[in-house]
């Protein structure tokens, strides 16, 4: 049984992709972020280009900073963004 995750993009990533996010069906349960990103890049030339051009992309899983080795479950909220520049 697989399901989908909700992906959000912020700042330069959002702008370059021309979208705020997308719904993605997971290839299987318990997918590492890195594997999911690889899959997305294979099927989306624009996304591949933008991810290749953006250094140090950060990921948050369910609004909590994670790593690209963190595993994603159906129903999770994923977010990709550049290094944060608040304050």
């Amino acid at each position: 049984m697989t399901g989908s995750v909700n992906i959000l993009y912020f700042a330069a990533l959002r702008e370059q992709l021309g979208r705020e996010g997308q719904q993605v069906t997971l290839p299987s349960n318990n997918v590492p972020v890195a594997a999911l990103v690889q899959e997305l890049r294979q099927h989306d030339a624009r996304l591949d280009e933008v991810f290749a051009a953006t250094p140090r992309i950060r990921v948050a899983i369910n609004q909590k900073l994670g790593g690209f080795d963190t595993c994603v479950q159906p129903g999770d909220e994923l977010a990709f963004f550049p290094p944060m520049t608040g304050g």
């Binding site: 609004q63 977010a79 608040g86 304050g87």
Partner: protein, 156 residues
């Protein structure tokens, strides 16, 4: 409520925020404040602040709670503005209240250092010539945030 966290478009009232911290407890002996504003130069017109609604508030609350415990604070305030802010406009207010000045001022530094690179805000610059650019994270900001990891907790 000792902790106050706000993410908002509107400006904040530094006097009112100070009064709130001052009145939290008779034990308050010192308050530290940091206010960041849009610095001009090189033809900059404005910054536009984007954030990750929901996650931002969670992270700021966690940061505030960490400061409360680490520096034995009596209260603290984090207010961060979002949206388009022109040169000279206030962006962020960090306020702390403690029994003694050392804890209040250290906690103020801790909070702004950690907030800069640890909370999901992003800044886009807009220049008079029409050019726009996302602000790059500064390495020294990441070092400043990391330095707090290697510092022994202290409430002095």
């Amino acid at each position: 409520m000792p902790v106050r966290v706000l993410v908002q478009q509107a400006a904040f009232d530094t006097g009112a925020e100070t009064a709130r911290l001052s009145g939290l407890s008779e034990q308050v002996g010192g308050m530290g404040l940091f206010i960041g504003q849009v610095r001009g130069g090189d033809g900059l017109l404005s910054l536009t602040l984007e954030h990750y609604p929901g996650m931002t508030e969670t992270i700021l609350h966690q940061l505030a709670q960490e400061a409360m415990e680490r520096f034995n604070l009596l209260g603290c305030t984090l207010i961060h503005r979002v949206g388009r802010l022109e040169v000279g406009a206030p962006i962020v207010l960090v306020g702390t209240a403690a029994a003694h000045r050392g804890a209040a001022l250290s906690a103020t530094s801790f909070l702004i250092d950690r907030l800069k690179t640890g909370a999901p805000f992003w800044k886009k610059e807009e220049f008079a010539n029409g050019h726009t650019a996302w602000v790059d994270a500064r390495e020294e900001d990441e070092h400043a945030a990391a330095a707090w990891m290697h510092t022994a907790p202290s409430s002095s």
